[in-house]
């Protein structure tokens, strides 16, 4: 680079161009991936415009799926950057949905109170998850695997007892039909060309925006990176490690509750088995978004592109002639592997081959 002059030790940090900065951003892979997957499915559906994949209806459909998984992915990314997993997200969706539905239709509580109770429950379980992880020092993988099964099991058993043998709570639709508050979770934002864009799009933008802002522009965000990078180094620098982790477990549980409210109020019923596999989809969203499984590095914005990849894939397969949604899981697994490899490569570039 510098010819003639002897570069001092200090000058060995190279000047970094805008392009290189972009290349080393954690979300770089997910942006390229999202673009690639979108073009791929458009090509596979024969570059048709106006119907199927490339239509406003199609677009609205995969944005809806994207938004729902994206709401989970943003906070799961933050938690993973802090070095922890939350596998209980999926069964929290089922449990929170049941609580909301039972409050509204079985006990006839007003919707606003039912929503408060649902979120209070989710936050309490999130706190408990975090507290157990922090206090016992057990891997969060194990602790939240425990709560995954406990929430699912208790949800099933208690719902049967309280509703005389049923595992589905219905009647939410009629009970909330005239409540303007329900619009917050099942409303339609706008319609273009026959495609209805639902309110979860707004929730998704809000959650991703807030998560990104917290991660990149607050003290708490700096602590999230640090806690995931090294717990001991963070503690020695005076970072409140336990508080950071517990708050993030509460955030993932709260996002599961948002997801549950959207589903229950849109469909009108709650089912114990709702939200199955969502914990893994959220993790895949985060990984495609450039977040390291081992913590300390990642992006909340990237998870939005990760969610888009998921949404487009899930619906895109449906539009491709000769394919059906049976292939979804296979493609998802493949994408996860490719993303993980790509992230590894980006990370090696970003950290200059040393680690």
């Amino acid at each position: 680079m510098t010819v003639g002059a002897t570069p001092s030790e200090a000058q060995r940090i190279r000047r970094v161009g805008l392009w290189r900065t972009f290349l080393t951003r954690p979300e770089f892979g997910s942006i390229v991936g999202a673009l690639f997957i979108f073009l791929l499915f458009w090509a596979l559906t024969g570059f048709t415009v106006g119907k199927g994949f490339m239509s406003w209806q199609g677009f609205a459909a995969y944005i809806e799926i994207t938004a729902q998984v994206g709401i989970l992915g943003a906070t799961v990314s933050l938690l993973m950057i802090a070095g922890e997993f939350d596998l209980s997200v999926g069964s929290m969706i089922g449990a929170a949905g049941l609580i909301l539905a039972m409050c509204v239709s079985t006990y006839g509580l007003p919707l606003w109170l039912s929503i408060i109770i649902t979120f209070a429950f989710a936050l309490a379980i999130g706190w408990l998850n975090g507290y157990l992880v922090v206090k016992t020092g057990l891997p969060s993988f194990i602790v939240t695997l425990g709560s995954l099964y406990m929430l699912r099991g208790a949800g099933l058993a208690l719902t049967r007892i309280l509703t005389n043998g049923l595992t589905i709570v219905s009647g939410v639709g009629t009970a909330t039909a005239n409540d303007p508050l329900a619009w917050l979770f099942n409303g339609t934002l706008f319609s273009i060309g026959g495609g209805d864009f639902k309110v979860e799009l707004l929730w998704w933008i809000l959650v991703v925006g807030l998560a990104s802002w917290i991660l990149l522009r607050t003290r708490f965000g700096n602590w999230i990176f640090a806690v995931g990078g090294s717990k001991d180094a963070s503690r020695s620098m005076g970072v409140p490690v336990a508080r950071v982790k517990i708050l993030l477990f509460m955030a993932t549980a709260a996002c599961a509750a948002i997801f549950a409210c959207i589903q229950v109020l849109s469909v009108g019923t709650a089912d114990v088995l709702r939200g199955q596999q969502k914990e893994f989809e959220a993790i895949i969203t985060a990984v495609i978004g450039g977040t390291l499984l081992t913590g300390g590095y990642g992006s909340a914005l990237g998870s939005a592109f990760g969610a888009f990849v998921l949404g487009v894939t899930q619906l895109g397969i449906f539009f491709v002639p000769g394919f059906n949604s049976d292939w979804y899981a296979f493609v998802l697994g493949l994408l996860l592997l490719v993303a993980a490899l790509l992230n590894n490569w980006i990370l090696r570039r970003a950290s200059g081959a040393r680690s």
Partner: protein
């Protein structure tokens, strides 16, 4: 700051002991450092140096004995508490986070903020500016503050940690083996910074097992051996050999020297036989 602090040590450990399970890591150890003074804490691996400084920086609490600042007894309830009282520590293995940027590392735990209430946020511009300027002062030109610390050399990482501690450590600077992983040139930079900190009126505790690094900068030498104090000396009172002997490594080194001498003698004899 206060009148009584003129002569009293800024930071002091009085007969502290600490055990972990059945292992007694420290027994009845005392250490003190005044403003504008460098106290070198010397000892072999496992002598209890790390336990002692973790105590002085609020990570561990003594089982018995006490800590004092400016002659007044204090309890350091957490690393944050110690920092708030002006004790800045650079830990050997915990200096920086490689996957975070220079400025994020620099301000970790002390992030500058802007705005009020829910809009209070991390002032990234100030963090970048100060980190860049401070790193420049210490001899490292950082052009891109978003560069991950993992791209820096071991010496540069240690220097970043020291620059950070100097920036925030108003009164006491504790350096845990800052030169142990460094080359000769990088070590010299670190030693120069220790002297600069002393000239600025900081109290410095410099932990090392390298006597050659300790001798040129130390005003005082506290020696630990097997968790006990093996003596405290002022500059000029002791030489290299004595310090080595007190650290518990002297006997081994003398033995090694004798062995080498014998080997050489044998080698000479062997050569004589061959010719």
């Amino acid at each position: 700051m206060t009148a009584h602090s003129a002569n009293a040590p800024v930071l002091e450990a009085r007969n502290v002991s600490k055990g972990f399970g059945r292992v007694l890591a420290l027994k009845d150890v005392s250490l003190s450092v005044k403003a504008g003074e460098v106290n070198c804490l010397l000892g072999d691996n496992g002598a209890g140096k790390s336990t002692l400084i973790k105590m002085l920086s609020g990570v561990h609490r003594p089982d018995s004995g006490s800590l004092a600042m400016d002659g007044e007894p204090v309890t350091l309830s957490s690393p944050h508490d110690a920092q708030a009282r002006g004790i800045a520590t650079v830990f050997q293995d915990l200096a920086v986070l490689p996957l975070m940027s220079v400025s994020r590392n620099f301000f970790l735990g002390n992030e500058p903020t802007k705005g009020f209430g829910p809009f209070r946020h991390f002032d990234v511009a100030t963090a970048d500016r100060v980190a860049r300027q401070r790193m420049k002062e210490i001899g490292i030109e950082v052009r891109e503050t978003s560069q991950l610390v993992g791209t820096m050399s071991g010496g540069e990482r240690q220097t970043l940690a020291i620059a950070r501690a100097e920036y925030f450590g108003a009164r006491v600077l504790i350096l845990d083996e800052p030169t142990s992983a460094l080359g000769v040139k990088q070590s010299a930079i670190v030693l120069r910074h220790i002297l600069r900190a002393r000239a600025n009126g900081l109290a410095v505790i410099f932990i090392t097992h390298n006597v050659q690094h300790a001798l040129p900068v130390g005003d005082k030498f506290t020696i630990l051996s097997h968790g006990r104090s093996a003596g405290e000396f002022r500059r000029g009172e002791v030489g290299l050999d004595q310090l080595l002997a007190l650290m518990g490594g002297g006997a081994e080194l003398t033995e090694l020297a004798t062995e080498l001498e014998q080997l050489r003698a044998a080698g000479v004899a062997h050569e004589a036989d061959a010719s």
